[in-house]
């Protein structure tokens, strides 16, 4: 089983103090069940999103505390939290979906037709992150959420 350590850190200025900063960082170790490069990239992308959004949330909440440690577990698509359902899928997610689908011999119009029927959207770039994640899982051969 492949293992990956995904980290995100950010430094911000300290209010009222010149030339000083506070750093916030999160590292997450996870196992990658996939073996295909595109699927691995997709999982890394999802994990990075999770780690990054956690740091950003801490900063947005103004907690000023070090980020809480995350429980290391595989970030399956349906477990990625804290994103509004209207949040659009990223270009990377759509690229992975298109890569995987074309590797399976599907044409771009086939993918769009399928996406349109199943999610009621006009095309791939109308998917939200959760839908894209679920579709990626399915293309990777796992049961979708």
């Amino acid at each position: 089983m492949l293992k990956a350590i995904v980290s995100y850190s950010k430094k911000v200025p300290v209010d009222g103090q010149n030339f000083s900063s506070q750093g916030y960082s999160v590292s997450l170790e996870t196992e990658l069940p996939e073996t295909q490069p595109a699927a691995i990239q997709a999982k890394l992308h999802e994990t990075f999103d999770l780690v990054k959004s956690t740091v950003e949330q801490e900063l947005a909440n103004g907690s000023g505390h070090a980020a809480r440690p995350l429980q290391a577990q595989p970030p399956a698509g349906n477990q990625v939290p804290a994103r509004a359902s209207g949040d659009k899928a990223s270009n990377k997610q759509i690229k992975f979906i298109t890569d995987l689908a074309t590797q399976r011999g599907l044409s771009l119009s086939d993918i769009n037709t399928d996406v349109s029927k199943r999610y009621g959207v006009a095309g791939l770039y109308d998917l939200n992150r959760k839908q894209a994640s679920s579709l990626l899982d399915e293309l990777n051969g796992r049961k979708a959420a």
């Binding site: 270009n91 759509i94 074309t102 044409s107 771009l108 119009s109 769009n112 959207v121 095309g123």
Partner: protein, 279 residues
């Protein structure tokens, strides 16, 4: 379906970006899209084209809903839209011959001529259809940024669906101009991906003669032309990454360019700024 503005929120390619880089001026592309310089003024043709486009939208939405725009109504609509455009754009560059009033009169004439020439049997299926689709090259490699665009109008007659783009032009189009344009390649690529249909595209051009002339130019594209377009995008991407931005001093656009001051100073500045994003 998302709007073009929503699709533009993500990093993307568009016909206008590609056309600007390849056919207008790569340095203008740099000033506008990468350095994001404030333009010195708004070229009158851009504002005029926007108002004309809005008038066409109104007329075709009316047709789509079963109505029929009347000539005087259309003229009034253009004048109203033009006045609003002038207010919105503010810094439009006029001259002694091209004034807000001459534009208002000319636009009203163009819209009236356009509607008079329109085929009443043609059904309007869609107005302003936005799209965003992945770019895939001939070897199946998927590019990270999608291509986005907005089709002015989709019409149908006798079972044939046609994509339509409305244009105003200072002169008549030359033979083959539509066949060489990158715009149909981009739009037909997008439409085919979304609907799995091979359709033609038509430019409905109204020429700004004293008595306006309406022309239609129909064109189609092949798989090979789509592959060529994706290769162009890849090359442009590489040129942007290597900061290949040069002034096109013999471009027809150069004399009226809204980045003229920055352009004239370009060679004197250490303006080789690292490129972090494109298009």
């Amino acid at each position: 379906m998302a709007t073009l503005t929503e699709y533009r929120d993500r990093e993307h390619w568009s016909f206008s970006a590609l056309n600007q880089f390849l056919n207008i001026c790569s340095l203008q592309f740099y000033f506008q899209r990468i350095q994001k310089l404030q333009s010195q003024f708004t070229p009158v043709n851009l504002s005029f084209g926007s108002a004309f486009h809005r008038a066409m939208e109104w007329a075709h939405m009316l047709k789509k809903e079963g109505g029929a725009p009347k000539e005087q109504e259309a003229r009034d609509m253009f004048r109203d839209l033009w006045n609003r455009q002038v207010q919105e754009d503010r810094n439009i560059r006029f001259d002694d011959e091209i004034t807000p009033d001459t534009c208002s009169a000319q636009g009203a004439d163009l819209v009236a001529a356009f509607l008079k020439a329109a085929d009443p049997e043609e059904e309007v299926v869609q107005v302003n259809e936005a799209f965003a689709v992945p770019l895939v090259d001939g070897q199946g490699q998927v590019l990270e940024k999608p291509i986005v665009g907005e089709i002015d109008c989709v019409v149908r007659k006798g079972g044939i669906t046609t994509l339509v783009d409305w244009k105003t032009s200072a002169k008549r189009w030359s033979r083959g101009q539509a066949d060489k344009s990158l715009q149909p390649t981009v739009y037909l690529y997008g439409y085919r991906q979304l609907y799995n249909r091979e359709v033609p595209m038509r430019f409905d051009v109204v020429v700004k003669n004293k008595t306006p002339v309406c022309e239609q130019h129909v064109t189609t594209r092949t798989e090979d032309q789509f592959n060529r377009m994706v290769e162009l995008v890849k090359k442009v991407d590489a040129m942007i990454a290597s900061e290949h931005f040069l002034p096109a001093e013999q471009s027809y656009w150069c004399a009226g360019c809204q980045y003229g001051v920055a352009c004239r100073a370009w060679h004197r500045q250490a303006s080789r700024v690292s490129v972090k994003m494109a298009a």
